[in-house]
């Protein structure tokens, strides 16, 4: 068995689709009969007010929450039948960054590198671009929320995966930071990547976008 390299993998087009999703959390039915399809180069935005179940939906798509009904497919194969393969193709970014406050930036990202396939990009260049190169040796606890956010963006860029999951990617970021996130998503999609985003504010972006509105 030969593992596919990054370039080969990027040449392939991928497809993430969902069929008839229903999710019940506690007392509430968050959504019912929800379907969508997303192909390489596309962006899927889950919209809705705060607390409407966007986060639950994006967690369910990423395989962290079990659905009441419905199936999520990765390249037309149900995700539950190929969980490892699916997770090898995605990276997760959320409000809770998943970075350790007691460790430095390099230590944090080093851990991530040993779990996931990583791209050929030079980490130094990525740090430079995100404006966190100076902070490399600092413990994450001493960084501001916005800076920590940028570190988790760096983790995203250094992973060599086609599918980005972003839960509320704009919180804790200034205007400049928001523009940067947009730019990164555009770049990723133009290279054949795809992105699932949950956001409560309008996102203006020049990428083929599918919008799913949750009441």
């Amino acid at each position: 068995m030969r593992r596919r390299s990054a370039t080969e993998r990027k040449a392939l087009t991928h497809k993430l689709s969902a069929d008839n999703l229903t999710l019940i959390r506690g007392e509430r039915c968050l959504f019912q009969g929800l379907s969508f399809a997303l192909e390489s180069g596309g962006l899927l935005i889950l919209e809705g007010r705060n607390g409407c179940g966007k986060t639950s939906l994006i967690r369910a798509i990423a395989g962290m929450l079990s659905l009441e009904e419905g199936t999520i497919y990765w390249n037309d194969v149900p995700v539950e039948k190929q969980r490892q393969e699916f997770h090898g193709n995605l990276v997760w970014l959320a409000h809770r960054t998943g970075l350790k406050g007691d460790l430095t930036l390099v230590e944090n990202l080093g851990f991530e590198r040993s779990l996931r396939a990583h791209s050929n990009e030079d980490p130094e260049e990525v740090y430079e671009r995100l404006g966190i190169a100076r902070l490399k040796k600092l413990v994450l606890r001493s960084l501001s929320a916005g800076q920590q956010r940028r570190v988790s963006l760096a983790r995203m860029l250094l992973a060599d995966v086609p599918l980005w999951f972003m839960d509320e990617p704009f919180t804790n970021l200034d205007r400049e930071g928001r523009a940067l996130v947009m730019e990164l998503v555009e770049e990723h999609c133009s290279k054949g990547g795809m992105c699932v985003m949950a956001a409560h504010q309008d996102v203006e972006i020049s990428v083929p976008t599918t919008r799913v509105k949750i009441q």
Binding site: M1, G63, G88, D102, E107, S114, A117
Partner: protein, 232 residues
């Protein structure tokens, strides 16, 4: 097999990385490692004060007291096994990682044992000597503690995973784990007692070893399943 640089890292890399990260975190927060050890020493101090300092009494109750104290100290340290990962979102990252979750869990549990069980093993001789335990018996005690705390860490990780994110997690964890941990303590403490009375103690040691192997191969799966459930 042509493993290109971009392929997902192998299982052992994932296991090693998780262990290494948790050890690093423990190194940066030594209090989390030291507190259970102080607790262990204090429980061992309480008993002679409560039942009297006569040599005979101490010799007789030593193995039992040390084992109960080790069990409680391990329980104390288990509490924090997944909580910080749950709170800062690292758990989400582990759940969506391409590595099999049981392997990562094993890595974390291994780190837990290295920072809680192993220090107990090395601190216990000091306390054992104050309980007038002969040196030959101290060796047996260290062996049973080493084997027993492996099982305790693994078994406890299931309980920690089931209670992570619950309001009353601490009390609940003890309620869930103590009945499960009883056999380990029975085997360990009695093997040491047998050694102290020059009896054949190998049955207990072998049984502890078997228990450790069984929990090494089964517990990570249960913990992984419990983590997926708790983090929903």
């Amino acid at each position: 097999m042509n493993v290109s640089m971009q392929a997902s890292p192998g299982l052992l890399t994932g296991l090693g990385a998780t262990t290494k990260r948790d050890l690093l975190l423990a190194w940066k927060r030594p209090g989390d490692v030291l507190n259970p050890l102080f607790f262990f020493a204090m429980v061992c101090t309480l008993f002679p004060l409560a039942v009297g300092p006569s040599a005979e009494q101490l010799e007789f109750s030593g193995p039992g007291v040390l084992w109960v104290a080790a069990l409680l100290a391990t329980l104390l340290s288990l509490n924090s096994l997944f909580i910080s990962d749950f709170e800062d979102g690292s758990l989400d990252q582990l759940l969506v990682s391409p590595q099999p979750l049981p392997v990562l869990v094993l890595g974390k549990t291994l780190a837990h044992w290295l920072t809680s069980g192993l220090p107990l093993v090395f601190v216990s001789p000091i306390l054992a000597i104050t309980y007038r335990m002969p040196l030959s018996v101290v060796g047996v005690m260290m062996l049973t503690l080493a084997l027993g705390t492996i099982s305790l860490s693994l078994l406890g990780s299931i309980g920690a995973a089931l209670t992570v994110g619950l309001h009353r997690g601490t009390a609940l964890l003890s309620l869930l784990i103590l009945p499960l941990a009883m056999p380990i303590m029975i085997l360990g403490a009695n093997a040491v007692s047998l050694a102290a009375s020059n009896d054949i103690y190998s049955t207990g040691v072998w049984a502890l070893g078997a228990y450790a192997i069984a929990s090494l191969s089964l517990a990570p799966y249960a913990t992984a399943a419990a983590l997926r459930i708790s983090n929903e």
